[in-house]
Amino acid sequence: MTAQAASAPAGTRLKALKRITFVDVVLWALRVIVVVVVVGGTIGTFVKGTYTTAQWVDFFMFGLTIGGVYALIALGYTMVYGILRLINFAHGDITMAGAFSAYFLASSLDRAGTLDAFPLLAMLAIMALAMGVCAGIALIVEHICYRPFRHVKSLAPLICAIGASFFLQHAFRGMYGSTIRSYPDPEWMKGRLDLFGFEIPVVQPIVILTALGAMLFLYLIVQKTRMGTAMRAVSEDRDAAALMGIDVNKVIIFTFILGGCMAGIGGVLYCFVYKQIYYFTGFFPGIKAFCAAVLGGIGNIPGAMVGGFFLGVVESVGPALFLDGIGITAPYQLRDLIAFTMLVMILIFRPQGILGERLASQRA
């Protein structure tokens, strides 16, 4: 080996080192800190042994339950983004609108005893109403707020979406007041279920399975039907899809209806778990669901599902698992911090999200 050949790799390494920026250092430092907190906290928590296996199962199930709701709402964000490259910020409030409307039916059915006597039929009716309202409002929002800007490259649709969000909140506040309403609590939801030796509230598997069922149904529509194929084609390239004879307008309308239906189901499940509804109910789940959609890979339907469950579980398990072990008091006040830190970390490592694909510049 000559001296010249030996110095070549050293020169390359020097060049590579020179290319490292301050931002790179900060990002790596951030990664190291998060990994240390996660690993150190987890080890510390298990060494302390504060929680029993049953309690870990509880945390996990709480997370899956709220995660299922996030996932259902996230589907609306991700589908609209996939088709229109637009973030429908009113989606959380559309969810509230459906759940609020269904509250009146649910209360009537509860007072009449129907909710306890015919739970399946009653729940189907409540969800159908919520889905109908959500789909209807989603279509109105699309027609008024998004359609005029469909071929305009500007931030106007985003501003319109935020405006629609506030309008919906305050319209419901004006119509029904600002007090919190109590969703019914039927007897059959109060029981507990034995799952592999662990007792869990029966409402949790109901919500998780309903969410999974709805997502499977949606996935089949998108993957196995002609309209689903058209949706994927429009998502891939709207102009090319139109040239191939696809009615893009119809596809967009169908997408908003589907997203609205998922939001309707999600809203009703959310309210049956947390038992409250008021005009602001949709805001925070909407924000979380949007994050779930980004986390999973916005525009990607399975990604929204995975993102929703992931965010729910991290929110629920994270404070106890990561922070308890390093002696942080009141770790649950940092629940959102943990969830959003995980979001940032995942996006640093995989900017396209968990299941997202790198978008070509034309699509992105």
């Binding site: 309690q55 509880d58 506040r173 007090t179 609590d185 038992k275 629920s316 009141a330 006040q333 629940r335």
Partner: protein, 416 residues
Amino acid sequence: MKTKLVMKALAVAAGVAIGATSGVSAETVGPVTDPLGVVKIPKGAPIHIGGYWTLSGPDVNLGLDQKRGAEIAMDDHGNMVAGHPIKFYAEDSQCNAEGGQTAATKLASNRNIVVVVGPDCSSAGTPGGPILWKAGIPSVATSTTAPSLTAADRPEGLHGYMRTIYNDLAAGAADAEYFWNRMECKSLATIHDGSPYAEQLVRVAENRFKELGGTVTAAEAVAPTDVDMRPVLTRIATTKPCAVYFPIFVAAAAQIVRQFGEIKGLEDTTPIGGSALMAPGFLEAAGDSAVDFVFTNPDTSPDAMGNRYPELVKKYKEKYGEAPIQAFHQNAYDGMAVTLMGIEKVAVKDDAGNTYIGRQALRDTLFATKGFDGMGGEVTCNEHGDCAGFKFAAYKFVDADPESFEIGKNPIKIYP
């Protein structure tokens, strides 16, 4: 030479600053001179008074009840003060910092307002009080109980802030003594929601509980908008406390009460809320879980109130068609009554019938209130603006129907 010039400039700047802070710029209008300014009310024109309470959202009962108390006080004064009609501006504080800031800014922008009654939430008063005081407007708060608002070392901005409600230094200690002595609890977990009221109250209660010999097994926090309380309750369950104390507001407290029974390990633990839950809105939000729920509150029974309290309840029912919807209307009545008395004491009339009110004089007069026979008991202010005492009670809801809400019947007083 250059150094001398700089020194001279600094001396002039220091002189201006000292002058500004020492009241050299006192305003003289008509016969009145006041360091903070003078409000002139032409003959026959109204005297402007502001108010800000929670008038929307899940805690609307808290604010609405107090606004009504203040309105009855104005009625009792014939809606006149110092020979002028009262013009009253009520703003919505929304029981949070942003709402308090907005409401106070709006009120402060009206230079005719001489004094503000309210707010009801410490979260709103913490930013709102300084905004108003910067405009020379004193605040007479009606249910903000956070100790920091009237602490001896409070910021300058709160020097115009007084309250006709007790201080949580007394309430937190009394709550802890109830847990220790009456419930015979040796271990306690607490939850606050980050608001100045809840956080400072639980800290006082925790400290007193520890002084008594008890153990605080967990000190947790949630956000007022949180809905999933199961993880935090599960964590608390691992510490096996005798009671969980959460003096927070309606929305989050109702979620805790609803989800409490689902948590394994909390079967022998008692959930206990605070005075913000004395409202029909809580029954609506918590549903059936509210039955048998216990919370601490100032004693609102007639024998614990001022002698004239039954008259207030009668007027309240006549004017609004329902019994009081929260437990602080008497404090708001007292706040407004003291305010009107203060205005009458400092108002100076000229020969043309115009009235002049010095802002600093009004503040000092209000802070000097002594021995006023109020609806909620005697109102006597100390130099920091604490004007009311605390009488402890524990209440329990016996019915989940919001229509059944009536203090004394649902909830019932269970102690003393």
